[in-house]
């Protein structure tokens, strides 16, 4: 992986982590967490772990849907 891409993806990862910690709405937190995952995913592919990458791509939406099931229920507490 070239240097430019490492800098750009590191920027995306740090931006997603800080924004997830900073935002107050749970939906905004989940959206920023998706930005973080989008930055992490090319590092997994660049390492050559394609089976791990396929597992991550299929398991991450399931985790988000688990969290969304509790987010819609008591939105007043959040």
């Amino acid at each position: 992986m070239i240097e430019f891409l490492q800098v750009v993806l590191a920027g995306i990862v740090i931006l997603g982590a800080v924004a997830t910690a900073w935002s107050r709405d749970p939906f905004n937190k989940l959206i920023c967490l998706s930005v973080l995952v989008g930055g992490v995913f090319p590092f997994i592919v660049a390492g050559g772990y394609l089976d791990v990458a396929i597992a991550v791509a299929l398991i991450t939406p399931i985790t988000t849907i688990f969290v969304l099931a509790i987010t819609g229920r008591n939105s007043d507490g959040a």
Partner: protein
């Protein structure tokens, strides 16, 4: 060299869309920019590693991230409709 130009373009699109996703104040306009970033990352995956299985990883990421963004959007619409 042509593949390197495509790599630069996809990286810049991903960075721009990620910044717009984070700083966008309107909640409903965050999700199209998130989709733009997901498409740029899915294009980047194919260009990074030349392997026959990398197209499968890109397809899995494309399907998974689109499903995730649509699940967030539909749950948010249902919650807003209840209030």
């Amino acid at each position: 060299m042509a593949a390197l130009i495509a790599l630069y373009v996809c990286g810049l699109i991903a960075l721009f869309a990620a910044i717009r996703t984070v700083v966008e104040p309107e909640p409903y306009r965050k999700l199209p920019y998130l989709n733009v970033m997901n498409f740029a990352i899915a294009g980047l995956i194919v260009l990074i590693l030349a392997h026959p299985l990398s197209i499968l990883a890109a397809a899995a990421y494309f399907v998974g991230s689109t499903l995730e963004a649509n699940a967030i959007a539909s749950t948010r619409a249902a919650v807003m409709e209840n209030d």
